[in-house]
Symmetry: C2
Subunit: 303 residues, 2 copies
């Protein structure tokens, strides 16, 4: 009796009117089988992120409820904020967590997109793994020109035609719906305040600089320390320990060391277990040896 | 709504008559709120280990049911095997897993001991953290002379007086009931077939040789490789990574390296997470950042 669990992390273009975010969260949480794990609003970005999980059916239902409520309460003609956006519900990614494949998440994105297009008359762009055109794998391409620019472009540029829904923007704008691997936000602080070292290391480590395939990285100065700030976009392909050890080696080349690391937000248990396995050289380890995993299975088969 | 979970790992002096072990396991598994996670019988040792978890009330009830069934079906006057033993149910440790303290497990050991002494008329010795005399913290002292020796000693040696039950052994013998931290069986293989190196490292690493406080270790030759075989008796005090890194350093001093490691049986998730945190230098990490932990809490509060 394995669980089938999908995570969904929709971003909404409202981070100031808390009653609006409350209403969206309530619509999501009211769906049976969906549970909200985390919620974060940013007033400068004027944007909120709601993290929830549930069965495949429940997450589609809950995401639809969130998109519908956002479309009713957020007007892109007046919304302003630092963060680029094309719609009230701006980005809706599905992430496979347990007993679900990436292909199934792609198919959830299509199911939801079809329904949003038909029932809410909102244009939908499929992105990342769910993308129907290679250039739409990159969310930034989908959001070019933002709401204001897309309003014109969608009318006559065939490259901007939506995957579902009308080729016309209302006040709720459009929504990007996709599927992706879990993202891990991981920062490494160095024993120096020299931001140039952090920038050089970030360039060496990130994919776009010739580094690791599933790493995005920036060099920053945070709390008086040089920091290599990373997004690990697929820890099953580029594991955390590989990124950290490469940073450690690059840092040594500049005469500095890793002071400490920082995890922003949530991390799948498997990503930490992978790191422990690698460092401890546990070649034959199977996840079933984790007491809590065995426990979960025993308690589930009990019902 | 936190869970309250205790693990219990009773050892029974029967590893050959599978129908007897089946009957004991059935008695344990029949208790509502207890779930069997693992079961292992050894014919040479003529001994079986059953691992189960449950609420504090359920584990006491299930352990009692297992002890009663073992006492009915195992006769120590005829039982033979390589493993030292004093009773049909030989050793019954309680281990805190989630939402339960060590003190609570000590009190469960006393509750069970009292009941076994009164209702089954079996002598009970409290051991490890539950011990009432310092010398009984070490299980080996409780088992001196085994069933045959204890049969005489219990009659007239005040040092062998049980904590509960009569000062007289029946055919079911006596039982040691205790509380302890989770035990991790962890083996490190070296890049050599020289068992002397493994023995020297084991001596340096283990507590009795002047090494780490919660480590027992032996040097062995396994599958053609020198192996440092460890029992980590309290990973919260002596973490795995500390033991592994000390072995790595000692190995380097003899010109060899760690080939790979091996985990025997189950491990608490926290022990692996601790290792990942240490190697990745995640100073500010909190377990609540693990997606599955957040998930478990969300799904629990859902009901």
């Amino acid at each position: 009796m394995a669980r089938h669990l999908v995570e969904c992390i929709p971003n909404f273009s409202e981070g100031r009117r808390i009653e609006v975010v409350d209403a969206i969260a309530e619509a999501i949480g009211a769906v049976h089988g969906a549970a909200i794990l985390d919620r974060h609003s940013d007033t400068d970005h004027n944007r909120s992120v709601i993290t929830f999980v549930g069965t495949p059916e429940a997450v589609v239902e809950a995401a639809f409820a969130g998109i519908r409520t956002a479309a009713q309460l957020i007007d892109l003609d007046v919304q302003q904020g630092e963060h680029p956006r094309i719609g009230a519900a701006d980005v809706v990614p599905f992430v496979p967590i347990e007993g679900v494949t990436m292909d199934e998440c792609v198919s959830l994105a299509r199911t939801l997109g079809d329904r949003v297009g038909r029932e809410l008359q909102i244009p939908v762009y499929l992105y990342e793994v769910a993308a129907t055109r290679p250039e739409r794998q990159n969310l930034a391409n989908v959001r070019v020109g933002q709401y204001e620019g897309l309003k014109e472009a969608i009318l006559n540029d065939p490259d901007r035609a939506p995957d579902f829904g009308p080729s016309k923007l209302g006040k709720a704008g459009a929504v990007a719906i996709g599927a992706r691997a879990p993202l891990i936000a991981f920062n490494v602080y160095l024993t120096t305040d020299d931001i140039e070292i952090a920038k050089k290391i970030a360039l060496a480590v990130r994919h776009s600089g010739g580094g690791l395939a599933y790493v995005k990285a920036l060099g920053l100065l945070v709390k008086g320390r040089a920091q290599v700030s990373m997004n690990l976009t697929d820890y099953t392909r580029t594991p955390i320990h590989q990124a950290v050890e490469l940073i450690r080696r690059e840092a040594a080349r500049y005469g500095v060391a890793v002071h400490h690391s920082e995890l922003v937000g949530l991390i799948p248990q498997a990503a930490l277990v992978d790191a422990a396995r690698w460092y401890l050289q546990l070649d034959e380890f199977v996840p079933d040896q984790i007491l809590e995993t065995r426990l979960g299975d025993a308690l589930k088969s009990d019902t």
